[in-house]
Symmetry: C2
Subunit: 167 residues, 2 copies
């Protein structure tokens, strides 16, 4: 039986463990997004949500809002612009700044997400977290095990049984 070294080492490898769990959870979330027909990466959605919440913003502001580096924001927002989801235009007052706004397709995607998908994901993750109690490491174990036992997508289906499973 092969051990889970990152889990077994406890606080020593907490960084690796959080990163790994975050990646797994994002991958599960991606499955739900795909199943709902939202053609976007889970990580990109945080940027759309930030623009939706903050209104038109500069690249630097969005980087700070999602907690990423400025070059990371520049690249991801350029991808979203290529996909036609946002418009990036040079600000009129200060030509260094670039203002990012939701394009028509981006607005539609955010509206559809808010209405149909985000509540489902939130409920599924909440369901995953529900049995986790006590110290952080114990809660992480509960999440890891819970994700293997019942994938997030199945939890989403349970929350919203009317939705067709695959498309």
């Amino acid at each position: 039986m092969i051990p889970d070294v990152v889990r077994d080492l406890g606080h020593l490898t907490l960084g690796s463990r959080l990163k790994r769990l975050g990646e797994r959870l994002q991958a599960h979330t991606q499955q739900i997004l795909d199943a709902c027909g939202l053609e976007i990466q889970a990580a990109q959605f945080t940027y759309l949500a930030a623009i939706d919440r903050m209104g038109p913003s500069t690249i630097g502001e969005l980087a700070e809002a999602v907690g990423a580096s400025q070059p990371g924001a520049t690249r991801t927002l350029a991808q979203l612009a290529d996909a036609g989801l946002v418009d990036i235009r040079t600000a009129s007052e200060d030509q260094r700044r670039r203002t990012v706004v939701l394009a028509k397709r981006g607005r539609e995607l955010v509206e559809a997400g808010k209405r149909d998908v985000w509540p489902v994901i939130e409920a599924a993750v909440r369901d995953l977290c529900a049995p986790a109690k006590g110290p952080l490491l114990a809660q992480l174990t509960a999440l890891e095990d819970g994700l293997v036992a019942v994938p997030l997508r199945d939890r989403a289906a349970a929350v919203k049984p009317a939705r067709k499973a695959a498309r």
Copy 2:
């Protein structure tokens, strides 16, 4: 004031948030490793620890032990071999398998880590986690804020004041 969207969205963006926090924590851990003169990436250390714990193992076994994909393990272990920290040799019985063992420098690094650095990192992370209580999201907030308030390296210094700060 720019909001923290990933934090504010709660369970919806838990995956992104865990990943982000894991990366930040790893970056702080890296500072401690660097300060102690251990010339290795934090992520690579999980592989060395796995070999140390499991003894000579195949690439596939190590991938499973650290919870990574097989190609990820292949690449990282190749880097460690390039750095002279492990030896990778084809198994005698089954020529498909490659057995990874700690090289002399790898053993020294693990011994030095176990003796001088790992206990410090563990104590520092434990100190960071100590005030975190209650639901998962609240604990994550505590960790994020705690990391900003007092970097991990300062917590390590408090634990082991005899160690010189920089080198």
